[in-house]
Amino acid sequence: MSVKPYIIPVDGRVMACLDASVYSNPVVDHAVWASRRLSAGLTFLHVLDRKPSRRPEADFSGNIGMSTQSDLLTELVELDARNSKIAIRQGRELLNNARIRAEQAGIATPDGIQRHGALADTLTEMESKVRLFVIGKRGEAADFNTGHLGANLERVVRSVHRPLLVASRQFKPIERFAIAFDGSPTTRKCVEMVAMSPLLKGLPCLLVIAGKVTADTRKALDCAKEHLQGAGFTPEEVVVAGDAEQVITEQVNGRQIDLLVMGAYGHSRIRHLIVGSTTTAILRNCHIPVLLLR
C-alpha cells in the first residue's frame, strides 16, 4: 500500500456524530476531551438517514382502482413525513443535551447541526472543515448482543480521510496510550501524526509490536522512537509474538492503556472479504477508545 503525502489538519473543528444509542454521552465526553486538547471548536452532528417506512399493515387486496396510485403515494409520503418529524425532534434533543453537557464541561459555544443523508457521505462532505471526527463504536441501528460493529462505522472508516476517534462505551480520562506498530508505511505515518499533534502530547506512550522483529522493523521502530522523543514523548516498546489482533488486545487490556492509535484498514478489500480486517477485529475486542489514522 502506497502512502500519499498526508497533510495533517491543524485547523478545523472537532466533529462528534451523535445518534440515539448508548454511545451518545460517551461520544460527547470524548469529543470534549479532544476539543480541549486540540484547542479546537466543537461541533455536534446528527445525521438523519431515512429508511423507507413500512406500511403498518399489509395490503394484499391486489386490485387497482381509480386513484390507487395517488392514494398509495400520499399514504407512503405521510408515513415517511411522520417518522422524519419524530427523528428530527429526537435529533434536536440529542444535540441540545450534548451542548449542555459540553458547556458544563467548560467548552464555549459548541455547535449543533442536523443533516439529511447517509452518515459516511455527510462526513465526507464536511471533511474540509473538520480536524477530527468522533463517533460511537456502534450506532442505534446496530445490534448489541452480537458484538458486531455498526455497519455505519465501517463505511465511515473507509470513506473519511480525517483522523477518527472511535469512542468506547464509557469515557475514562486518558492517561496512557499505545500505538499499534508493525513498521509499515501506514504505522510510520501514525507515529509522525501523533508526534506532531497536541492531542496526546505529554502522555506516556507504548509501541505495541506483534510478531517477530526483523531488521527492517527494528530500524523503523528506532526511527519511530526517535521521532517521538524529539516531540517530547517517552516511548516504551513491547514486542510479543503472535497474532496482531490478539497481541494488541491483550497488551491494551493488561497494561491499563486508555487509548489505542492505529492505522485504518491496511489490507485490501478483497482480503477483507475473506478474513475480515484486523482493524475491525481490534475495534470489536478492545474496550477502550481507538484513534484511527488514515
Partner: protein, 493 residues
C-alpha cells in the same frame, strides 16, 4: 464491498415483504398474461412464457428494483398485424430483435430523451392505454351467452367490494376462483380460457425462431421491433418513475433499458412475446409491500409453477372473469384526475393530452400517439416562447436617429412579429437597432434581421446594429448577408 452491499440491499433487505408481494403479483399476472396473449392473437402460453421469462430475467438485469415487468397490453396491441399476417415465429423473431434494439438504446442512453416527453404526454399515454385495454375486452362482450354479463358484474363487485371486508387476500384472485367454480358447478355455458388456445403444460424450452433467413424477414420485423422498442422503453421508464416516486429511491434508467432488452431476447428465444414494465402490477407490488428484486423473481417463478401444474384448471377460467380483471386494470391505469384537470389546466396541456389519446386510439399505436404528443407540446412551447419578444423604439440625436430596442427570443415562431415591429415608412436618417438583450436562435431570426436591415437600406436609411450578444453575433456572422458588401437578398428564407 459496494457490490455486495447493493446486492444485500436490493435483494435481501425486504424478504418477507417481497415473498408475499411476489405471490400477489403472480396471481394478478396470470389473467393479464392470458388476456394480452389474446389481444396479440396468440395462444395464452405465449404470454405466460413471456411473463415468466421477463419477470425472472428483469429481476437480475433491471435498473429499478421493485418494478414488475411482463407481457403487456401496450406491446400486445403492436403485434396484432404481424401475428395475423405472418404468424407466431415472426413475432418471436421480432421479440428478440426488440431486445437487441433495447440493449442498444441502453448503451446509447436513449433514456435521456425522456425529458422531451412532457407530463401531459405521459397522462395521454396512460389514458390511451387504459382505453385500448378496455376496447380489447369488447369482443368478449359481444355475441356471447347472456350469462357472461352477470358474471362480469359479479367479478367487478368482488374485486372492488372484497377489500372492504379483508385486505389479506387478493380480490381479483377470489373473483376468478369463485366465477370458475360457479361456471363448473352449475355448468354455465360460457366461453373459457381453454377455448382460446393452448396453455403451457411444460417449462419453456430454448428454441430459435423458425423464420426464413432472407432479406425480406428483417423488412417485415424491423418496423414492428422498432415500435416495440420505443413503446416498451417508454412504459418502462414511466413505470420506473412511478416506483421511484412511491418508494423515494432512485433508479438507473440506462440499466433498465438494457435489462428490458435482455429480458425480451430471452423471452423471444423461449417462445414468449415482447413485454415491458407494467404500471398496474408495479403499483400492486408496492402496495403489497414489495420493494426489492426478489418480488419480481418470485412473481415469475410462482406464475410458472401455478400455470404448469394447474393448467387444467386455468383452462376452466371463464373469459368473463378475465374481462372483469382487465376492466379493473383499465380503470386503474386511466388517470381520472386528468378529466377533472381539463377545466383548470392550461389549454395547450389539455390539447397535448387529448391529441396523444386520440391518435393512439385511432392507430392502436402508442408510439404514434406519443410522437404526436411530443410534437404538439413542442409547438405549444414554441408558440408560448414566441410571445417573449418585444421591440420598443425612441428618437435620439435630436430626432435624427431612431433607436429600436429588441428584447426576448427571436426564432421561427416569432420572426414575423419581430419584423412587423419596425416602422419602415418613417423618413429618418439613421436607425440604431439594439439587440443586446435579444437572442437570435435560428435561420428565420437571422433572415428577419437581414430583411429589416436591407429594407431600411433601400429607403436610404443608415442602419447600425449594436449590442449584438456573442451568441447572436456568431449566428449572424455565419449565416447572415447584410454586413457583406453587395448583399441584396438573404438566402436564408
Amino acid at each position: 464491498m459496494d457490490f455486495l452491499q447493493s446486492v444485500r440491499r436490493e435483494w435481501f433487505s425486504n424478504i418477507r415483504g417481497d415473498v408475499l408481494a411476489g405471490l400477489v403479483v403472480a396471481l394478478a399476472l396470470i389473467p393479464e398474461a392470458i388476456a394480452f396473449s389474446l389481444i396479440a392473437g396468440v395462444d395464452p402460453k405465449v404470454g405466460l412464457y413471456a411473463s415468466f421469462c421477463i419477470a425472472v430475467v428483469i429481476a437480475f438485469t433491471g435498473g429499478r428494483p421493485g418494478m414488475i415487468s411482463a407481457a403487456t397490453g401496450a406491446m400486445a396491441l403492436l403485434m396484432v398485424t404481424l401475428v395475423r399476417d405472418h404468424g407466431l415465429e415472426y413475432l418471436l423473431a421480432a421479440t428478440v430483435l426488440t431486445g437487441v434494439l433495447q440493449i442498444l438504446a441502453g448503451y446509447l442512453r436513449l433514456a435521456d430523451l425522456m425529458r422531451f416527453v412532457s407530463r401531459s404526454v405521459v397522462t395521454g399515454f396512460l389514458n390511451a392505454l387504459a382505453i385500448l385495454i378496455f376496447l380489447a375486452q369488447i369482443p368478449e362482450l359481444i355475441n356471447v351467452p347472456m350469462a357472461v354479463y352477470p358474471m362480469v358484474v359479479a367479478g367487478l363487485v368482488i374485486i372492488y367490494g372484497l377489500p372492504r371486508l379483508t385486505r389479506r387476500i387478493p380480490s381479483p384472485l377470489v373473483a376468478i376462483v369463485l366465477l370458475t367454480v360457479a361456471a363448473v358447478v352449475f355448468g354455465i355455458p360460457v366461453p373459457n380460457v381453454g377455448d382460446k388456445g393452448e396453455l403451457p403444460d411444460a417449462l419453456p424450452v430454448f428454441l430459435l425462431p423458425d423464420i426464413p433467413w432472407n432479406l425480406q424477414t428483417p423488412m417485415i420485423i424491423l418496423p414492428v421491433s422498432l415500435t416495440l422498442m420505443v413503446v416498451g422503453l417508454l412504459e418502462s421508464f414511466l413505470t420506473a418513475q412511478i416506483v421511484d416516486d412511491l418508494t423515494d429511491t432512485p433508479s438507473d434508467k440506462h440499466r433498465e433499458a438494457k435489462g428490458q432488452g435482455i429480458a425480451n431476447m430471452v423471452s423471444g428465444f423461449f417462445g414468449g412475446m415482447a413485454g415491458c414494465a407494467m404500471i398496474g402490477q408495479s403499483v400492486i407490488n408496492v402496495k403489497s409491500g414489495g420493494r426489492g428484486r426478489l418480488s419480481s423473481l418470485l412473481a415469475g417463478v410462482y406464475l410458472l409453477l401455478m400455470v404448469v401444474f394447474l393448467s387444467d384448471w386455468v383452462g376452466l377460467i371463464p373469459m368473463a372473469a378475465l374481462v372483469a380483471v382487465m376492466i379493473m386494470v383499465s380503470i386503474g391505469t386511466f388517470s381520472w384526475q386528468s378529466i377533472a384537470n381539463l377545466k383548470h389546466h392550461p389549454r395547450t396541456s389539455s390539447l397535448v393530452m387529448l391529441g396523444t389519446v386520440v391518435v393512439t386510439v385511432a392507430t392502436h399505436d402508442l408510439a404514434k400517439g406519443v410522437l404526436t404528443g411530443v410534437l404538439l407540446s413542442a409547438l405549444g412551447f414554441a408558440r408560448k416562447v414566441s410571445q417573449v419578444v418585444t421591440v420598443s423604439s425612441r428618437l435620439e440625436d435630436e430626432g435624427a436617429t431612431r433607436r429600436y430596442t429588441v428584447t426576448g427570443q427571436v426564432f421561427f415562431a416569432s420572426a414575423g412579429q419581430f419584423l412587423d415591429a419596425f416602422d419602415f415608412g418613417e423618413v429618418i436618417e439613421h436607425i440604431r437597432i439594439d439587440v443586446s438583450r435579444a437572442h437570435f436562435w435560428d435561420l428565420s431570426a437571422v433572415g428577419a434581421l437581414d430583411r429589416i436591415v436591407l429594407k431600411f437600406k433601400r429607403e436610404g436609411v443608415e442602419v447600425e446594429l449594436i449590442g449584438m450578444d456573442e451568441a447572436s453575433r456568431t449566428m449572424v456572422d455565419h449565416l447572415g448577408v447584410h454586413d457583406k458588401p453587395g448583399a441584396r437578398q438573404s438566402p436564408a428564407h
